[in-house]
């Protein structure tokens, strides 16, 4: 939450001027984009006749109705409580997206038929590749962050080279380099370990910067107090610095992990049977491209939402000592 002022402000969506502005805006946009061919145009057949022959009058009538519904909607939502508002807005946006997907005239039976396999094979593979990479990336990140903050030239050199290299190359190249390049050195990795290695190294490079920023955000007085009490480096890091740095680190870390979850789809180029690979191959064989892609997209989204929820739980846990 932002720092709320105690000024009582009028509800924006109940100001006539605001409603009028929104109304005109929606009306003109809907008028410019001809919407007579859509479901709404079809529903208004009794008023405007054949939607496709209704001309400018039909266009205006459809736009007018949409603008009315829209303004009514936001004005009504303005009356609800905060929680209800959030829920309604989510629900409506969700419905709009479902309506958008409905445009594709997807074959639902095909989706249902393939969903179990998509989940048991694809999601499971995606999840365990991501989860293992997440652990490795965090470990790499924290070590490299400490190395980058240290006065050891050797460690600093390696860490900066590492982050520069793995943040600088496209992940796809890294995957190919590890899968196709390492065998040249006599190290032969299977597709899944290669994928995990590439993901860990790449995400680890981003995590390094996140950890470094978090550690540096802690006041040096904390270090001084720890030193003066006789704490060594590891103890200070573990018990004093990291617990305070984590609340700073968690939001960008959540960002990175959600990004990684989706980047794990790049491992599909190695033929690993994860979500994206399965969605593509299952769809291609039967020309149901859209069905599988949309199903996979929604699954990715659900997984991301799970990560978001975990993140907010952790944030709440760390908020407890932040009382003032």
């Amino acid at each position: 939450m932002l720092y709320a002022d105690t000024v009582e402000s009028e509800v924006l969506v109940h100001k006539p001027l605001f409603i009028a502005t929104v109304f005109v805006l929606v009306l003109s946009i809907c008028f410019m984009v001809n919407l007579t061919g859509t479901t709404i145009g079809e529903l208004m057949r009794p008023v405007i006749g054949d939607p496709l022959d209704s001309g400018l009058y039909g266009r205006f009538a459809v736009a007018f109705v949409i603008a009315i519904i829209f303004c009514l909607n936001i004005a009504l939502i303005g009356f609800a409580h905060l929680k209800a508002q959030i829920a309604i807005v989510w629900l409506e946006l969700l419905l709009l997206f479902l309506a958008f997907f409905a445009v594709f005239k997807l074959s639902l039976p095909f989706i249902w038929q393939n969903l179990p396999f998509l989940i048991t094979q694809g999601v499971v593979t995606t999840l365990y590749i991501s989860a293992i990479s997440l652990v490795f990336a965090s470990a790499i990140g924290i070590m490299a962050a400490i190395a980058k903050l240290s006065s050891n030239g050797f460690a600093y050199g390696i860490a900066t080279f590492y982050t520069s290299f793995f943040r600088g190359l496209p992940l796809l190249m890294q995957i190919y380099l590890i899968y196709l390049g390492l065998p040249q050195l006599g190290i032969i990795l299977n597709a899944v370990p290669s994928g995990i290695l590439a993901l860990s190294l790449c995400v680890g490079a981003y995590m390094t910067e996140i950890f470094r920023a978090g550690i540096q955000s802690i006041d040096r007085g904390q270090w001084e107090a720890s030193r003066s009490l006789g704490f060594g480096f590891a103890l200070t890091m573990r018990k004093i610095i990291m617990p305070q740095a984590l609340p700073v680190i968690i939001p960008p870390m959540g960002n990175t992990f959600i990004g990684m979850l989706k980047d794990s789809s790049l491992v599909s180029v190695l033929g690993v049977w994860e979500l994206t690979f399965l969605a593509r191959t299952l769809g291609q064989a039967t020309f149901h491209h859209m069905e599988m892609l949309i199903a996979a997209a929604i699954i990715y989204w659900i997984l991301s939402v799970c990560l978001e929820l975990i993140q907010s739980r952790i944030e709440r846990y760390f908020a407890r000592s932040k009382v003032r």
């Binding site: 006041d219 007085g221 107090a225 030193r227 003066s228 006789g230 018990k239 617990p243 305070q244």
Partner: protein
């Protein structure tokens, strides 16, 4: 000789090319209360931070409790165990309760069992007269209370000497006295103390010796009575007239 807690001999320290301490020599005996004062930037903090090696000196020798200070971790740990430090900005651990702030060092450094550490922590929180705040977080306390927790936290290690670096400088006037009272009662109990402070009333009533520093040098030192009534050095006179004017 045996009751010497801190002995500094010809200590010099540079920050880059800037010389912050010049040939400083100082001996603190067991049970002695030493107050260090001087204008801003004169090297007071630098000097006492050298006593537990938060800063490294480059020349001269510092011996604490018979251990000569140098860069080796093992000796350093032994020294820091015996030297408590209280900072201007408290530096409590904000993510731990007051009780845990006090229990942490004895448990993690000395390996004191939890129940014993808790008993110890409560004893010293009682000593600084805030046992009822034990389960709060530092952010919920007033500045004066936080500083007293910081004192208790150091006391829990049962140090041989306590260093105070302007412990009241960031406090509101009405909280200064409660912290000074705590420090005075510590002094009454025979704690060896080195205090950097501008509280001249405290210096007059508690100190065995007052040291005046300027530009990295010890300009003058003496018993508080002589020091305040009959300063030898013009710079001391000037400083005292400035600080006692208000």
């Amino acid at each position: 000789m045996n009751d010497t807690v801190i002995e500094a001999r010809n200590v010099s320290k540079w920050y880059g090319a800037f010389r912050a301490l010049t040939d400083v020599s100082l001996t603190v005996r067991k049970g002695e209360r030493v107050v260090i004062c001087g204008p801003s930037g004169s090297g007071k903090s630098t000097l006492i931070r050298c006593f537990n090696r938060l800063e490294a000196h480059q020349e001269g020798e510092i011996t604490v409790n018979g251990i000569r200070l140098h860069g080796k971790m093992r000796d350093l740990a032994a020294v820091r165990k015996n030297v408590g430090m209280v900072f201007q900005h408290f530096n409590l651990f904000p993510h731990m309760t007051v009780l845990m702030n006090c229990m942490a060092a004895p448990m993690w450094i000395k390996g004191v069992p939890e129940t014993e550490a808790k008993r110890l922590a409560l004893k010293f929180l009682e000593r600084v007269r805030i046992p009822e705040q034990a389960n709060k977080y530092p952010g919920q306390l007033s500045g004066g209370q936080q500083q007293r927790v910081a004192i208790a936290r150091s006391l829990c290690m049962e140090p041989a000497v306590m260093l105070f670096d302007e412990p009241t400088s960031s406090l509101d006037p009405e909280m200064v006295s409660e912290v000074l009272e705590t420090m005075t009662s510590l002094a009454r109990d025979g704690m060896t103390m080195v205090c950097v402070t501008h509280e001249m009333g405290f210096a007059r009533s508690v100190a065995d010796r007052v040291i005046f520093m300027d530009a990295g040098l010890i300009v003058e030192e003496g018993a508080p009575n002589d020091f305040f009534t009959n300063p030898q050095h013009p710079r001391t006179t000037l400083f005292l007239s400035q600080i006692l004017k208000h």
